[in-house]
Assembly symmetry: C2
Homo-oligomer: 261 residues x 2
């Protein structure tokens, strides 16, 4: 069953991200979305990259309202992207939104990155709360990267999802290539298999004690697979991966031993 | 392809959790696991519940070795459960482990909780790094809850996974009911659909400013579905949900509009 909005009202769009309320990406996104509906933006008060679906369980959360931007209401919360979606639904919005949009992230969320991404965390949470949800990411960490090349695809997907809805338990992970000419094509793909390697840089502090900092490089296990997000991004094509909130595996044929007494 | 260990050596077992290195659950787990192999325990230095697959990207990580416990090496890291698995593989272990075991968590990770769980975060990360991985949770938040009732199921699943391996990209989310008589049965189930409601308690601080704290109650959308984890747990049965690391949805029939120009 599609969770297509059934209201006649102007759509209510909840926006979040994981780069925080000051990021360029969320401002470019809001600037585009205000023509589709009433926009309420609720972002972390500071960068929260790599927060996945983390929730804040042991400390209180606060909501601060900021100046409106292009007619959109803007708020910050001292929490994770998932906290922003949950608390926005509970204490900021006066009705269930018609759409959750997360991003535009500064950096790729293709392949295995989908599991660590706070940008995707916000979209997964929207999906968990029964709202069609889309995450957008540009494959560049440069804070001044050209977000404008994302906008035609934001427009197409937002208007499409407002019209068609999304299947229950599925949200969209959209990655836009940052290199080369502005992309012209968009494809449904799958997250490519691969892994991060050489994941830490090792240091020694002034007291002679070691510490480590996360780094690493992504190793693509299927670089020639044209059906994957990484292949499309490497070839200048926007990747749309329909992504599952629910996690239960279906093929249990090799697990029958578990139920044997 | 099953990632069954092919070594003749005594198995190397990496243990983590999200309740932190001092939790009762991880000590009960280690006490059981030392008979199956060489155990190295690398846990967060403090409780990290609800951390999902969060990674620490902007601050350095440290590793501190503690006293051995029952012959197992014990370490703490100032990071998330995923950080513990990644950094253990990178800087603590001298070879790839044969098994990752996470828990025993104090509290249920059934149903939608799987997506927020740091206990599951550690298991997902083990899975991402190509190691068969199992997460155990007891459905009680009481720090002194009876973890012993979990042990027969830990033993059966650990010895079974060491023998059979697990399918690529699949880890096990095991929940053990805390109420009633010690469970006797274990079933392969699926995560039940449902949602958290009434998610925040609202407060006013001494300066008159509002703040919010996460709480809520779980609403089961399919309470009579005998195939689900929640149904089994409510009926005194241990639930084993084979859980997917990869997230791409397969049924794209309702998404064809995305590729239309």
């Amino acid at each position: 069953m599609n969770n297509k909005p059934i209201t006649d009202k102007r759509p209510l769009i909840l926006v979040s991200n994981d780069d925080g309320i000051t990021a360029n990406g969320v401002h470019e996104l809001v600037d585009c979305l205000v023509k589709f509906g009433d926009v309420v933006t609720v972002c972390p008060d500071a960068p929260r990259s790599g927060q996945s679906m983390a929730i804040t369980v042991n400390t209180p959360l606060r909501i601060d309202r900021l100046d409106d931007f292009q007619g959109a209401k803007m708020y910050k919360i001292n929490g994770t992207p998932v906290d922003c979606i949950k608390l926005a639904m509970y204490a900021v919005l006066d009705r269930k939104p018609d759409l959750v949009v997360s991003g535009i992230n500064h950096g790729s969320n293709a392949a295995i990155n989908v599991v660590y991404s706070g940008t995707m965390g916000a979209a997964f949470e929207g999906c968990a709360l029964g709202v069609p949800s889309i995450a957008f990411s540009l494959t560049s960490h440069d804070p001044d990267a050209d977000m404008k090349r994302c906008i035609p695809f934001v427009e197409k997907l937002v208007s499409g999802v407002l019209e068609h809805g999304l299947p229950e338990g599925v949200c969209l992970n959209v990655n836009i290539p940052a290199k080369g000419a502005a992309p012209e094509e968009m494809r449904l793909t799958k997250g490519c298999k691969g892994k991060w390697t050489d994941e830490y840089q090792e240091y020694t502090d002034p007291q002679g004690k070691k510490f480590w900092w996360l780094t690493g490089s992504f190793e693509n296990d299927e670089p020639n697979n044209e059906d994957t997000d990484e292949w499309c991004l490497a070839h200048g094509i926007v990747s749309v991966v329909p992504t599952l909130l629910y996690r239960t595996a279906i093929d249990l044929s090799s697990l029958e031993w578990i139920e044997k007494q």
